[in-house]
């Protein structure tokens, strides 16, 4: 119980730090970006929107810094995130909701696939150490993870989109198809997701493989594995139930954490493929100086990570009793 409380306390503290960053960053910058922007929007937006901007940047409000800060915290806590300037007059919360649907679909499924495939390759290459898979897969995947993933995406667009014309490479679905649960639309969405998903998969799989392989190399040297061999157990049983099962814990924790990075983890892939998810929205907001939307998206991404970490901590505490006493 004390453990859970501690983690929850840390959760709140970090959340507060992120909100505070959001508050102070625009105020710390040289040549206040707000003033330039407010001048640009004056006359084009209503009094209420102007006030949202004033709260965010603390211009013309006549309040002291601490008073502004308290006001800002209150607004965030009560869900008054303001109005998007670019997607005017949609409130920020609505823009965020449509974006998150796309991101969860694309990056969510890819993250799960990368984990399963990467861990599998890791198990095989540790089991047949020095074998064919082990000689090629880990080094290749290490190199792949050093390539900027957005560039892999660009190359895919070049090869499979522009040259071979196999797959579409822009947007979440064709503009001509109507959204709905029709087969046409679903196939269309899948076609659009394939290239960005492959680009993500190739560049993220390596870390899973490497940690799994290195952990399993350690567990394979344990006495209980030797014991299992001595008992004459089937080798598939030794590999999965004895060695892999004990080696997978760090990967599982990592997986729980990476679930949190789904929301903000593929910003550049979404950018390259014009995929209408959270990351694409964030860059749109940056490009159009839509600061209310930008701040809300940053908070959303942070909260997703924090929730995942909290869950990962609790899950590890349940599955691995040793971590409880270590706290």
């Amino acid at each position: 119980m004390r453990f859970v409380l501690r983690r929850a306390g840390f959760f709140l503290l970090t959340l507060w730090a992120a909100v505070t960053l959001n508050f102070f960053l625009p105020r710390m910058m040289p040549g206040n970006p707000a003033i330039a922007m407010m001048a640009k929007f004056r006359g084009r937006i209503s009094g209420q929107e102007l006030r949202t901007l004033e709260t965010i940047f603390g211009v013309n409000s006549g309040q002291s810094l601490p008073a502004q800060y308290v006001h800002y915290l209150g607004d965030i806590a009560t869900g008054k995130w303001g109005t998007s300037l670019f997607f005017f007059p949609s409130p920020v919360s609505q823009v965020v909701r449509t974006a998150i649907f796309w991101t969860l679909g694309l990056v969510g499924i890819t993250t799960i696939l990368a984990f399963v495939l990467g861990t599998g390759v890791g198990i095989v290459s540790a089991w047949r150490r020095g074998g064919l898979v082990d000689s090629f897969a880990p080094p290749l995947l290490v190199i792949a993870s050093a390539i900027p993933y957005f560039w892999v995406g660009m190359m895919f667009i070049l090869i499979f989109g522009v040259r071979l014309q196999w797959l579409p490479w822009s947007g979440g679905a064709a503009i001509t198809s109507t959204p709905g649960w029709s087969l046409d639309y679903i196939v269309n969405v899948l076609e659009h997701a394939l290239l960005p998903a492959l680009a993500l998969l190739i560049t993220t799989i390596g870390t899973w493989t490497l940690t799994m392989r290195n952990n399993m190399v350690t567990t394979l040297a344990e006495d209980y594995v030797r014991m299992a061999r001595a008992k004459g157990l089937r080798s598939s049983r030794i590999m999965l139930d004895y060695a892999a099962r004990n080696a997978i814990l760090p990967n599982l924790t990592g997986f729980a954490m990476s679930l949190g990075f789904i929301v903000g983890g593929a910003i550049l892939i979404e950018y390259v493929f014009n995929y209408p998810g959270v990351g694409y929205m964030l860059l749109q907001a940056v490009e159009n100086e839509d600061y209310p939307l930008m701040q809300a998206l940053f908070l959303l991404i942070t909260v997703a990570v924090l929730v995942a970490i909290l869950l990962a901590d609790i899950a590890t505490a349940i599955f691995d009793p040793r971590t409880r006493s270590a706290q």
């Binding site: 390539i147 957005f150 667009i157 522009v162 290195n214 190399v217 040297a221 990075f261 940056v286 940053f298």
Partner: protein
């Protein structure tokens, strides 16, 4: 010396080190390899590869080969600068936390954890959005301030395991100051960990800086690989068939990244003997025979 020998004996490390050395030479003496001015927009636009322009020209009429060669300098500056500074900050904070213990440890640890879990790339985007056109120094500063936490955590746990060693007790009895103990007694024992941390941080700095420049948050007039990608994207180079404009800078980033990653992979193997490649029986007998002869 031992490190050099270890690098030479490891195929991956040798490959990485040679690649990195080539990039360093390019960054130091770009004029030896490229004769065109990388910023001059004097050539016909969007040329393909030819003898006059080895890798074609950009959408603004610059020589792509010259840009790629001269761009090495900024990328290496950012990656080495941010990598070094982040590792340094991490070492001071992590080791100080472990060595001082008590309240200082609790406070430093908490700060580290908070910085660790705030998503890095979105934060970088938000900061750069406010800064507008970050140049080299700003990029190094931002990448350093956001990138030290993971290493700090690693170094703290390593330092914690050293806390009760005799040589530290001896230093304390001699009455050495805390900073002396940290800098002279503790840090030298963690050299391999520090090298690995530096390489990881340098790799992330390359990827993050290029990414920021790619989405237009760097200085669009600087000569670097990320900026080249930005202009290629702006120019719709892929769709229009000017492949070289996007392929060249990306391949350069990938090569530099691979060099650093390979070195790092090898440092892992050198630091942790259990991960070293297992020799086949034939290699082992050959080695034994060699030893017997000596």
């Amino acid at each position: 010396m031992r490190f050099l020998r270890a690098v030479r004996g490891n195929g991956k490390a040798t490959t990485g080190a040679i690649l990195l050395a080539i990039f360093v030479v390019l960054a130091l003496f770009p004029g030896l390899f490229a004769h065109d001015d990388p910023t001059a927009t004097i050539y016909p636009r969007n040329l393909g590869a030819s003898a006059a322009h080895l890798l074609g020209t950009s959408g603004l009429g610059q020589d792509t080969f010259a840009q790629a060669v001269y761009g090495t300098r900024q990328v290496l500056l950012i990656s080495f600068g941010a990598g070094l500074l982040a590792t340094l900050i991490a070492a001071v904070i992590g080791v100080a936390a472990a060595y001082l213990g008590g309240f200082a440890d609790g406070a430093l640890n908490l700060i580290t954890d908070v910085v660790l879990v705030i998503p890095l790339f979105p934060l970088l985007i938000v900061i750069s959005a406010y800064v507008h056109n970050s140049g080299t120094a700003v990029l190094i500063a931002v990448l350093t301030l956001t990138g030290w936490s993971y290493t700090a955590r690693q170094l703290r746990s390593q330092a914690l395991s050293l806390r009760n060693r005799d040589f530290l007790a001896a230093a304390k009895v001699r009455g050495e100051r805390a900073w002396y103990v940290i800098a002279v007694e503790i840090l030298p024992t963690m050299v391999s960990l520090l090298v690995a941390a530096f390489l990881t941080n340098a790799l992330y700095a390359v990827l993050f800086a290029s990414s920021l420049q790619f989405i237009g948050l760097g200085d669009p007039n600087s000569t670097s690989w990320g900026t080249m990608l930005y202009w290629a994207q702006n120019n719709e180079a892929l769709q229009a068939g000017y492949y070289l404009q996007a392929v060249v800078p990306g391949a350069a980033i990938a090569l530099l990244g691979a060099a650093v990653a390979l070195l790092n992979y090898a440092v892992d193997e050198i630091g942790n003997p259990a991960l070293r490649p297992v020799r086949s029986r034939r290699q082992r007998t050959r080695q034994l025979r060699r030893l017997g002869r000596a």
